[in-house]
């Protein structure tokens, strides 16, 4: 009971502190901007811990964060091996191949209205295929190891990336294209100096969406066959053994990897599309 009381009390105090901080004259400073979400996150963990202990929730339903943290700290080699297998090999390879080929295909079909109209619906169809259907097929085609996971990722990110790039390539203004024409610029000059830069906000939109899709794809694909390592493999086997603390530790790795991945792409975007009204700030 005291655990519950402590959790409630902590919650109220943290809420009060955050409200005070957000409304204070310091609310625009860097420190406060960082402190508010940190306090929020810590509160969630403390309340979680307090409620689980206070109500004596069985660890199979929900382990307390402290138990997850202990498991995390003591399983670092395994978590690292899984991370390399699933994230570095499966996700990143598939992401780079999928996004790269989508941009290349978008440029290749750019000059052909026929191909654009033909390929976009086909791409749409492929994107609509459920991953639980395509993943086993990819495993049949490319084997149990990370190659088949990368293939699933390619299938997942290709279409959103293609659509965004095609849209981006059409984003330059008619006047800007006329300007290039008055210089008698070639197709490639116009592409490199006008249309690709103008497409960057769209391309990065696709790249950001794809980070999340890629990670989900790589993890879920491992449910359908994999060597005895990988985040998806670990989650499915540890659930079977009712070792929920390990499952949560893998989820924590996935959450951290996903956030850092997204953040890194967003950071590059800031550098590349600094000129766009949404980034000027």
């Amino acid at each position: 009971m005291s655990w519950l009381l402590f959790a409630m009390l902590f919650w109220v105090v943290a809420l009060w502190v955050n409200i005070r901080l957000a409304n204070s004259s310091l609310s625009e400073t860097r420190a406060v901007k960082l402190a508010v979400p940190v306090i929020f996150g810590v509160t969630v963990l403390v309340v979680w811990e307090g409620v689980v202990r206070g109500l004596e929730v069985p660890p199979v339903i929900l382990p307390p964060p402290s138990a997850i943290a202990v498991k995390f700290a003591t399983s670092l080699p395994i978590l690292w091996e899984d991370f390399v297998q699933t994230f570095i090999k499966g996700t990143l390879t598939g992401y780079i191949l999928g996004c790269g080929s989508a941009v290349a295909v978008a440029i290749a079909i750019d000059r052909s209205d026929f191909l654009q109209r033909g390929l976009l619906p086909v791409g749409n169809f492929i994107a609509a295929l459920p991953i639980i259907g395509t993943a086993p097929i990819m495993v049949m085609w490319f084997g149990f190891d990370w190659q088949s996971k990368a293939a699933v990722v390619v299938a997942m990110v290709f279409f959103p990336m293609l659509v965004n790039t095609v849209q981006g390539l059409a984003a330059s203004e008619a006047m800007q294209r006329d300007l290039m024409k008055t210089y008698s610029a070639s197709y490639w000059q116009t592409l490199l100096k006008l249309r690709l830069p103008a497409a960057m906000p769209f391309i990065f939109n696709g790249l950001k969406i794809s980070t999340t899709l890629a990670l989900i794809g790589a993890i879920v694909a491992e449910f359908f066959g994999s060597p005895i390592r990988g985040m998806g493999f670990r989650i499915s086997t540890e659930v079977g053994r009712l070792a929920l603390d390990m499952v949560w530790a893998e989820i924590a790795v996935a959450a951290i990897a996903g956030s850092v991945f997204y953040g890194a792409v967003a950071l590059i975007e800031k550098g590349v599309t600094f000129w766009h009204p949404s980034q000027r700030g």
Binding site: L179, K181, T182, K193, P197, M200, T273, W275, R280
Partner: protein, 261 residues
Amino acid sequence: MTSDAVIAARDLGLTFQTNDGPVHALKDVNLQIARGDFVSFIGPSGCGKTTFLRVVAGLEEPTAGQITVNGMSPDEARRARAYGYVFQAAGLFPWRTIAGNVKLPLEIMGFTRAEQEKRVKKVLQLVDLEGFERKFPWQLSGGMQQRASIARALAFDADILLMDEPFGALDEIVRDHLNEQLLKLWARTGKTIAFVTHSIPEAVYLSTKIVVMSPRPGRIHDVIESPLPRERPLDIRDTPEFLEVAHRVREGLRAGHAYEG
């Protein structure tokens, strides 16, 4: 067609096919522009001023008659880099600095690095934008952006300058200043300039020749040769000669409208 005409149009027509039927943007346009002329096009909205400039630039294909630019077809002239085009909006690329924007045509046309730097410096000086090389377009005022776009059109030193309401969105004071600078530039470089405007004083102040147009179908109503000297201080606008020309332009515009009704 005289051979020294830089731009010569004969019975030029352009009809756009739209969903609501054909639009006669230009009809029976005959016009000669000589080397070193400063020609203004004035007329109500929709009378084909922009369309005429775009035909000269090879951005639009005429559907009737002929037009030559430097004795060539507009397309050939475009490939020979015969003209610089200044659009109504500055249209600078936001991802390039001011210097980078002015450099754009030079990069496309394959000038050497050193030559690019030299020319950028020169034309930015010409439009009074030294010191803003590293700024991005959105960090500049509208007037400065428009000056940068003029610098961009001047950078590759084409003989002809086509300007479509370049100062339309600017306030009167900035406009006066840019008008004065444009005249100086014209006197110094001897370029041929075709200039679209909605302002009678601007047209009279700048031009050696004023083309008054009327709409539906877009055609030339009157061509007025200005008797004003080439040397023009701003206060020339208060002289009787100036007012006389302005009066003729206004009459022309009014008659063009009556004709339509």
